[in-house]
Subunit: 323 residues, 2 copies
Amino acid sequence: MSAAGDPRKTLVVALCGGVGGAKLALGLSRVVPGADLMVVANTGDDFEHLGLAISPDLDTIMYTLAGLADPRRGWGRRDETWTFMAALAALGGETWFALGDGDLATHLERTRRRAAGEALSAITADFCRRLKIATRLVPMTDDTVRTRLRTDMGWLDFQDYFVRRRCAPTVLEVAYDGAARARAHPDVLAALRDPRLRAIVICPSNPFLSIEPILAVGALREAIAGSAAPVVAVSPIIAGRAVKGPTAKMMSALGLEVSARAVARRYRDLLDAYVLDRADAAAVAELGIPVTLAHTLMTTLADREELARHVLASADAVAKATA
Amino acid sequence: MSAAGDPRKTLVVALCGGVGGAKLALGLSRVVPGADLMVVANTGDDFEHLGLAISPDLDTIMYTLAGLADPRRGWGRRDETWTFMAALAALGGETWFALGDGDLATHLERTRRRAAGEALSAITADFCRRLKIATRLVPMTDDTVRTRLRTDMGWLDFQDYFVRRRCAPTVLEVAYDGAARARAHPDVLAALRDPRLRAIVICPSNPFLSIEPILAVGALREAIAGSAAPVVAVSPIIAGRAVKGPTAKMMSALGLEVSARAVARRYRDLLDAYVLDRADAAAVAELGIPVTLAHTLMTTLADREELARHVLASADAVAKATA
């Protein structure tokens, strides 16, 4: 890879879903200083449960960036306790969505502040400040977008499919209710227009459930396409398999090839470069855009940082080539 | 004390506040079988906090009857964890009211069900069924009553005075907002009219904060006064001191003598008998109603049961005398 790019280009925008994407976001946060990194979080998975406003992807990213994420489970908080769930079960409450005791504080405080009129983005910014997260973490919109899935069991809300039914139904169609009329967060639109923007990174998240809800938000896809900065995606598929979650199963059910190449095709009109795992070297020649190979299975913190550097170098190389 | 009273009189109604009252309620539940005991809980302390509907006295009684109460702290649940509060503090949330992780399940589930249209009494009955409480636990009303205190710092909500300000302000006046137009729970009114009613017990709770809010609920005081069953109170004051909480301090600030006798005077038009601690033997002669002495400082479970038996025997003795 080439050396660092234009020194005036300091900003990076990353589109990010849950666990997989958050790993790269953490890597980027260690390479891009402070507020120069903006992570745009999917909120299509957000839902109301037990009267609480829950934002699973936003929280996974926030906990990851704050060093609070559980390192083994992949979701939720480290040093979590589960007294609430046990007591709720004894009272006959709904227990299909696991809420840790510490995690509850996030949902309860966010719900309280939203009820008092604060925007999700403002609450998120304040939580991040208190948790000493220097990266800017921004929900894709302050409006309501809900990912819904048409399945062999009918239309399902995302969490109903994902958590309650453990991805068992076959997905036939994905819809992002409210996305077309939702307004992209103005800070995101401003960042995409900023002449200092170095790269737009599409994290290795589920395309249907994490990235496309973001791209479906009114004006966002156009703003990305119109941005002068290179767009680089990292494949969430390695050698025909998803690292985690239902990506591979969904691609298959939707009639798509389960491959890094098929993911790239979904972003094709946006992509300037694509980062594949070394296991997918064979796909390099077929995509028609600059492709680089990296170790994309992020096991260690060093893996996350190294992939982040690789992604930015890919962007810089494309920027130089087109300059 | 005399032997058991009329065998057709099987029902007991107990008016009850928080910790002190709940001790006697537990004793009564071990002496009066199953649904023959109705505990009427003060809900004047109820409040909204962090968007949750919290009923402190109701929960203290429920946890006590279910064997879930913390035996040392005197409030909250045994084997409680506090992960939520620590996480909430990190997010800048309000932490002046301590909410344990298990306790949160009660508040969240109750809030959810109330928002769905269920009455507090129906939710309480279902919780009790699930927690295997055979005693009937009934909130004094399903309507909203709020105990408010005029203090040297102005009018304060009860929990603001009691928890946030740790009873530091001087209380000048007590009001029960909403009590006059609140409807007593129909099951309570029915029990008070029931020919099987053996006794109405006023538990050793704070008169101003626990018992008088119940008596202030529309039609309840009259229904108690008009009941054929004897009314027996247990003094919350022992030798001029309250076992727990601000009772003594409040009596003093309100210009009352801090004594078991002064508490009895507040209930005088209702009382048929009064149970004092042995330490207050000197007050026996002055009250003009039958008074008995007992060991009222309930330290052990045996103490609670013994006092319960004593109170019922006092009621039976009065009933026989007037029969």
